[in-house]
């Protein structure tokens, strides 16, 4: 939806969540935005496609130490996320997980309508894009020609189990997603084959146990190997060519394939919001971190400006300045008094410490 368009009236009749600020992305920078906006009395709702806060820190390197957060000689990435959540808590942010923001459109009366792929609708005075490297999306395995089967026979998530009923399903992977869907689809599919490159699984031990039990009973096939190619016509899969661990080749009969090869970051729907983009990043000014659309800000890894560094501490700085500019939109005409958290009784009241 282009920025100039206004949304159709029938969309407005859905339940609307009204908020001062809608933050897209709950990575470290999005969470800290809640804090800086909160100090200036703005309330936030956040949307993230992941099922928990923390963005890259939580998804890509939770166990790793970070050494360049000011004041922490060393802090674990997950630990930093927990501290940021604790710091944001006084401002009661509302998180909407496991959904992706799809559209952002200007409302005729001012502000923005934001919708997600789960149908959640927000009206916000200000939109803050803290989308990092983009939305986390399932990785496409580098199997030649796989694109042709996507959406018809190859799926990276199960939206409707019915689509797998009475099908020959091949599930590839060894983590929780692979094992969970193996166990869930086994009763309704014609046949389920689980393929993994080794006989060890990262998934929860009890799912692995259940899987092995089904294999022992002959109700599930387990194959150790890797996908090398696909065959079928018009996007309809009929067979998956695999290399078995003993070096031999085989074709597994399959009409549906579910590969689980982890997540990667893709820009996603942000490209359709009518914003200026530069190499998949959103150019902003360095005073307010506002995009080409007034009222929409971009902070953290997703933005670009001369000298930009993709560091957490840069994102923290950006949200502090952005919050000042957002305040002028949310409460026009209200005077903004610069205050320190150390000494301001009014800030301390907001933080619940005095």
């Amino acid at each position: 939806m282009r920025m100039s368009e206004t949304i159709a009236p029938d969309v407005i009749t859905a339940d609307v969540i009204t908020t001062d600020v809608l933050v897209i992305g709950a990575g470290p920078v999005g969470i800290f935005a809640v804090f800086e906006l909160g100090l200036l009395d703005m309330r936030c709702h956040l949307v993230d496609i992941l099922d928990r806060p923390g963005g890259q820190c939580a998804e890509l390197y939770p166990e790793k130490p970070i050494y360049d957060i000011p004041g922490y000689p060393v802090v674990g990435a997950q630990e930093l996320v927990e501290k940021l959540m604790e710091q944001a808590r006084p401002f009661s942010p509302v998180f909407h997980y496991s959904q992706m923001v799809e559209t952002v459109a200007r409302l005729p009366e001012g502000g923005f309508a934001v919708t997600t792929d789960l149908g959640t609708l927000f009206h916000a005075k200000v939109v803050v894009i803290a989308a990092g490297g983009g939305s986390f999306q399932p990785k496409r395995p580098p199997v030649p020609g796989i694109e042709a089967y996507e959406g018809t026979s190859v799926f990276y998530a199960v939206r409707r189990m019915e689509a797998f009923r009475d099908q020959d399903v091949l599930i590839v992977g060894g983590g929780d997603s692979a094992l969970d869907w193996t166990l869930n689809l086994q009763p309704i599919a014609r046949r389920v084959t689980l393929m993994h490159r080794r006989d060890e699984f990262r998934a929860a031990p009890h799912s692995v146990e259940q899987m092995r039990h089904l294999v022992a009973e002959g109700r599930l096939d387990l194959v150790l190997g890797q996908v090398t190619g696909l065959s079928g016509a018009d996007g309809h899969l009929s067979g998956v060519h695999v290399k078995l661990n003993d070096g031999s080749a085989r074709t597994i009969q399959a009409t549906r394939m579910l590969p689980f090869f982890g997540l990667t970051m893709k820009l996603g729907p942000i490209a359709d919001w009518g914003l200026n983009l530069h190499e998949n990043l959103i150019p902003v000014d360095t005073e307010k971190f506002e995009t080409s659309e007034p009222g929409i800000f971009a902070v953290g890894d997703i933005n670009t400006y001369p000298g930009k560094l993709k560091l957490i501490l840069s994102g923290f700085h950006e949200v502090a300045l952005m919050a000042q500019a957002a305040k002028r939109i949310v409460a026009p005409g209200q005077r903004i008094v610069f205050q320190y958290t150390t000494s301001s009784t009014s800030l301390q009241k907001k933080l619940g410490v005095s």
């Binding site: 395995p141 580098p142 993994h196 060890e200």
Partner: protein
Amino acid sequence: MPKITFISAAGAEQTVEAEIGSTVMENAIRNMVPGIEAECGGACACATCHVYVDEAWYAKVGAPEPMEEDMLDFAYDVRPTSRLSCQIKVTAALDGLVVRTPERQA
């Protein structure tokens, strides 16, 4: 300084000097060796620095730790001598190491 030779899937060879204590991936990136992407910068979180260690060197380089083995699940065309090059530390004993880059990274 120890030397490392990278051989591409097409057979192109490139030999680089590697500082002791650095990772094989870092040397590939520093010398712009094609075929190594290293999206996550060495955090064992992306599997785009996948290499095949030359058979003759595999025993010296050693097998992957469990965390790396888990991440190898996300790589493409994994073989018995597959390693993630960001998890191989250069030592004096690895002078002359030969690794091959796969046809594609995941």
